[in-house]
Symmetry: C2
Subunit: 203 residues, 2 copies
Amino acid sequence: MLTPRKQPRQQRSRETVAVILEAAAQLFQRHGYAGTTTNKIAERAGVSIGSLYQYFPNKDALLVALAEHYLTQSAEQVAQVFSRAAEHRPSLHDLLTDLVGCVADLHTDRPELHRLLFDQAPRTPGLVTRFRQAEQQIAGALAGELRRLRAGGPDPGLSALLAVQGIEAQLHGALLDQPDGRDTSGHVQAVIRLWHRALAAAP
Amino acid sequence: MLTPRKQPRQQRSRETVAVILEAAAQLFQRHGYAGTTTNKIAERAGVSIGSLYQYFPNKDALLVALAEHYLTQSAEQVAQVFSRAAEHRPSLHDLLTDLVGCVADLHTDRPELHRLLFDQAPRTPGLVTRFRQAEQQIAGALAGELRRLRAGGPDPGLSALLAVQGIEAQLHGALLDQPDGRDTSGHVQAVIRLWHRALAAAP
DNA sequence: CAATAATGCGAGCTATTCTCAGTTTTCGGT
DNA sequence: ACCGAAAACTGAGAATAGCTCGCATTATTG
């Protein structure tokens, strides 16, 4: 059990949950996951440790809750890219520019939070699945666009999945563990060019 | 300090270190990192907890030592791919087949160990750097081959880095967090095809 | 064969997660 | 307004895991 312990019913307790999550986010970002104790989180939130454990069965559950929130928000951003695409039917290059730009923004908007969740995700069972889900959802949408553009080769579904996985890894490497001396915008441009060549329909 | 506490000088202590690492590897793989206590490791290794902490300053150091060993071994495997390439000067497609196959083997040979290290790496400061180093080293070698083949576009160095990051992420997703219903060898083939299109010299 | 250095030992100190019995606050019905 | 029940809150402390330190044992050196 990672999320469900007790559902807050009254207004008071909903605020308690919110203030706990806010405190957790701040302390995790400042001192890292291991460097933050649940007692400190409760203290900072101005509630007792008992209240914290009334809504979160363990420390990991705090992380899962933060990730849930973050992933939902991210999914909305990416969904907008595809709803724009459905309307304007852009070229492959324009679509990739939009998509890669969006994912890059997700990294740079709140880099600490992004890194925190990404770093902790692998060791928290539920989170890996959740991340993969988001990945597949985006890949599904991308696959649709590739079919419209007659791009992505014989198996657009698979190509789309590989593209999503690749783009995420490349941008993560570029924006969060920056190899020294490379300029960011050139890096992003290179990612777009590369995927354009990989996915473009044969001429 | 993550590695250096005391250097084992006598034969006896070198065996102690070896048996501790062996026990750590087994227990980490069986019960996960968090699910393994240092006391259990010492017990399984047949040494006292004090001896363990004489050579490893903390629990993370055990992980770093295992990673060090694994990365060295992996680097050798990949180096062989490029020394073969230097001799036979293969086509881009053959080179990619060899490289991707090699990286895939690294994932499937000891999947538990690979996943363990990969999952824990992000939260262990020294390990991230160490992984990125390995990545850049491989990218450097690949960049050389791309230049020979006049492939990889205007900046073969950057293209090579993106390729290495992408391939690792895609194979990791395919082999360790398998999306249901996809066959593995087809997946690997798709990765090769995709990178061939992305990197091939314009005709 | 001392004297010295290296290695090994494990009870217990410290810090952290999480529980639980009891108190306070809110809510619904009369 | 009042009361009983449910929800929310509290914090001492149980349980556990990482790690230390003083001392015992084994190897090396001169």
